[in-house]
């Protein structure tokens, strides 16, 4: 009865696999971001009274090579990457369960604060402080999870609300815990080393060696956690349940999965991950918590990290390092233009990654409908993708048909 449907599908798979497709579209997005930013630099230069078009080229070149100047720059990249990866995991983990945790920043903030309380006030060692952070972050994640499960309130709203609650909550505590800020001027937490060196993330003696204060085991923690999450997601029954809920809540309930419980658990874990990120950031002993703190951007940066990796835990490690690089390399723009260029790159990348996969799936489908020899050899794929994309924006029906295997993240 269905041969007519069957056979073409088999053909289609020969064109190009899902994995490589995801990869290609991510690359495509990144490329787009870089190109855009380069053009932007030119425009900025052009607006000047006397433009010097050698400048953008140089600056962009600096940007691309910035982090490879020396070991310290590379260390800085990894230093940025560690929390980015962890927050990315937080957001990505929730995505997999069909939840948009825009509140990672709130969870990150609260957890970071309590990790500092743990080391400064309670004299905890770093690993214990990370546990504290996981718990507090988890709590902050629990609330939206519970609201979603119990009242079916959109987690986007609850998490946004809780971000602000987190901000004022931590401020209030910081003000009322003067023991945290004994050194002048007294508007920021004391350096950890000042109270409790065991609270600092170990640097394995590399601080001396490299002379960089940005080195610590944060990146290792991040990678280990990423691997754990990957295993949980793809190898365990729990991961099976989470993804099932993410794809189709009703079906999971029907199959006997406790969907509500799963949602709450997911948010708790997601919060805990953001929590680890907070601890890793602040236990590095570099930044401090201040009374004028605004919503910490790090929490939001997790979103692009996750999106760029299509929420794949291992992919997140890569995208985390990549975006970590953007922020370090972005300093090349400072002074000459403005480091905001980095965020432009970032936003363009996310913008494109929002539809890159879908578009490329459409393209693949069109390829597969075309003659069979299609897809042999990547180069020719790209050629086709190019010409198809062009046609895509012209023909109406083309855009219309994508019902199979849409990514739900």
């Amino acid at each position: 009865m269905l041969k007519d449907i069957k056979s073409p599908q088999v053909k289609k798979k020969r064109v190009i696999s899902d994995k490589s497709l995801t990869f290609i579209s991510a690359l495509f997005a990144i490329l787009a971001g870089l190109v855009m930013s380069f053009i932007l630099l030119y425009i900025l230069e052009a607006t000047k009274a006397e433009s010097n078009y050698a400048l953008p080229v140089q600056v962009f070149n600096n940007f691309l090579t910035y982090a490879f100047k020396d070991t310290r720059s590379i260390i800085k990249v990894l230093y940025n990457a560690a929390p980015l990866i962890l927050v990315g995991l937080s957001v990505g983990f929730a995505f997999k369960a069909g939840l948009f945790n825009i509140g990672a920043t709130g969870q990150y903030t609260v957890a970071a604060f309590f990790s500092l309380v743990a080391v400064i006030l309670w004299g905890f060692p770093w690993w214990a402080a990370i546990l504290v952070a996981m718990i507090t972050g988890g709590l902050w994640g629990f609330v939206p999870g519970y609201f979603k499960a119990k009242f079916n309130i959109n987690e986007v709203i609850t998490t946004i609300m809780l971000n602000w609650v987190a901000l004022y909550f931590t401020k209030l505590l910081l003000y009322n815990l003067p023991e945290l800020r004994t050194l002048p001027p007294g508007n920021r937490t004391d350096p950890i080393a000042y109270h409790n060196p065991t609270g600092l993330l170990p640097d394995l003696g590399l601080k001396e060696l490299t002379g960089s204060s940005f080195i610590n085991i944060g990146i290792i923690i991040a990678i280990v956690v990423a691997i754990i999450i990957y295993i949980v997601m793809n190898k365990t029954t729990f991961g099976f349940e989470i993804k099932a809920c993410g794809h189709n809540k009703d079906a999971s309930i029907y199959a006997g999965i406790k969907a509500k419980r799963t949602i709450v658990l997911t948010m708790i874990i997601s919060g805990a991950l953001a929590g680890i990120a907070g601890a890793v950031s602040f236990l590095a002993g570099t930044i401090q918590f201040t009374t004028d703190s605004v919503l910490l951007p790090m929490g939001f940066n997790g979103i692009p990290v996750a999106l760029l990796a299509f929420s794949n835990p291992l992919g997140i490690v890569v995208s985390g390092v990549f975006i970590g690089y953007l922020y370090v390399g972005g300093q090349a723009f400072e002074g000459v233009y403005s480091s905001e260029v980095t965020n432009i790159i970032l936003s363009v990348i996310i913008y494109f990654s929002a539809f890159a996969l879908i578009v490329s799936q459409m393209i693949r489908r069109k390829l597969s409908n075309g003659n069979d020899d299609s897809g042999t050899g990547k180069g020719n794929i790209f050629k086709r993708i190019k010409e198809k994309t062009v046609s895509l924006f012209k023909k109406k029906e083309d855009v219309v048909e994508n019902d199979e295997e849409e990514v739900t993240n």
Partner: protein, 330 residues
């Protein structure tokens, strides 16, 4: 008395950007597109208001003679800026069927950076602010009332924080309501947000409708951004301090309905104002805490959560929101 007057007038003042933002969100979501980019769009609106004011008009005679006209023109400018910016979301979400939340997030990251860079392109400094020339708010005199003849608190209550945007936002609210419920466009827009296939089957161009919905959204959010900047020390500072996200909350809180949104905006704004005054209003307890205002600042958010929890049963999002329209799907 004065305190109360201030409380009320401020509540109204800061409800305006929320109201506009939430109405913006409403139009987009009623057409089926989740618009999480309100924050970014508001920033762009405020940005172009700043550029326009500091650039074109600042030293023209108009400014003295017809300040309110300037305000009005600026509203249009910021609205159009928001509209154009929002088309980026529309294109990705409607034409390319991108995940709407993701593309919205992209816009939110883009806007503030873009603002700084535009200012850079205009001034070659890394500045992030454009101060507005002080736009006269509508004082009593503007209504031919001599403010010296009326009680101080009345003056505070009515005129101290009255901007053209305040009045026009009420007009916009009423228009929004009429358009949504009393016109054929509104009926079709809502149909697209509820059941696009049905709309399509009776010959409504869903794509066009959704573009329009998002465009209106962008226009209103842009104005909202201007209203915010004007209320906030009348300066554009490449940031709307999260009011875009709050507007989103207000919209949901208001159950995607114009007048409930008005209520929600006032509710929210009221508690935000209370919180600010906390440290100065004597009758609010301090619990022996330093900077207790931070405690009260949590209030509006927590209260919103509580209210949402109670009203969640009744709350009902447009059915097709967030789902890319796909005629093939059955």
């Amino acid at each position: 008395m004065d305190t109360v007057a201030i409380l009320i007038s401020k509540t109204v003042l800061y409800a305006v950007p929320l109201l506009l933002g939430a109405l913006a969100g409403m139009f987009s979501e009623r057409s089926g597109i989740i618009n999480i980019a309100l924050e970014g769009i508001m920033i762009v609106g405020s940005l172009f208001a700043g550029v326009f004011l500091s650039g074109a008009i600042i030293n023209s005679a108009l400014a003295e003679n017809a300040p309110q006209l300037i305000v009005f023109i600026t509203m249009i400018v910021s609205g159009l800026a928001g509209l154009i910016f929002s088309l980026l979301l529309a294109f990705a979400a409607i034409k390319l069927k991108a995940n709407q939340v993701i593309s919205g997030t992209a816009l939110n990251i883009f806007a503030p950076a873009f603002s700084v860079l535009l200012i850079y392109a205009l001034t070659y400094t890394g500045n992030s602010k454009i101060p507005f020339p002080d736009l006269i708010n509508l004082n009593a005199e503007a209504f031919g009332i001599d403010s010296t003849n009326i009680a101080d608190w009345v003056n505070t209550l009515l005129f101290k924080n009255l901007y053209l945007t305040t009045i026009l936002s009420i007009v916009i609210l009423i228009i929004a309501f009429t358009v949504l419920y009393k016109t054929k466009f509104g009926l079709r827009l809502r149909a697209c947000g509820e059941h696009p296939q049905a709309a399509d089957s009776v010959g409504i161009n869903v794509i066009k409708m959704r573009y329009t919905g998002v465009a209106i959204s962008g226009f209103l959010a842009g104005i909202g951004g201007f209203a915010f900047a004007m209320a906030n020390g009348s300066v554009h500072q490449s940031d709307v301090l999260g009011y875009g996200f709050l507007a989103l909350a207000v919209m949901i809180f208001g159950n995607w309905k114009p007048f409930r949104i008005l209520f929600a905006a006032l509710f929210f704004s009221f508690f935000k104002t209370i919180a600010v005054l906390a440290s100065t209003i004597s009758f609010l307890p301090t619990f022996g805490l330093i900077k207790v205002e931070n405690l009260y600042k949590m209030l509006p958010y927590i209260l919103t959560l509580v209210v949402l929890a109670f009203t969640s049963k009744k709350s009902r999002a447009p059915k097709a929101e967030g789902i890319p329209y796909d005629p093939g799907k059955r």
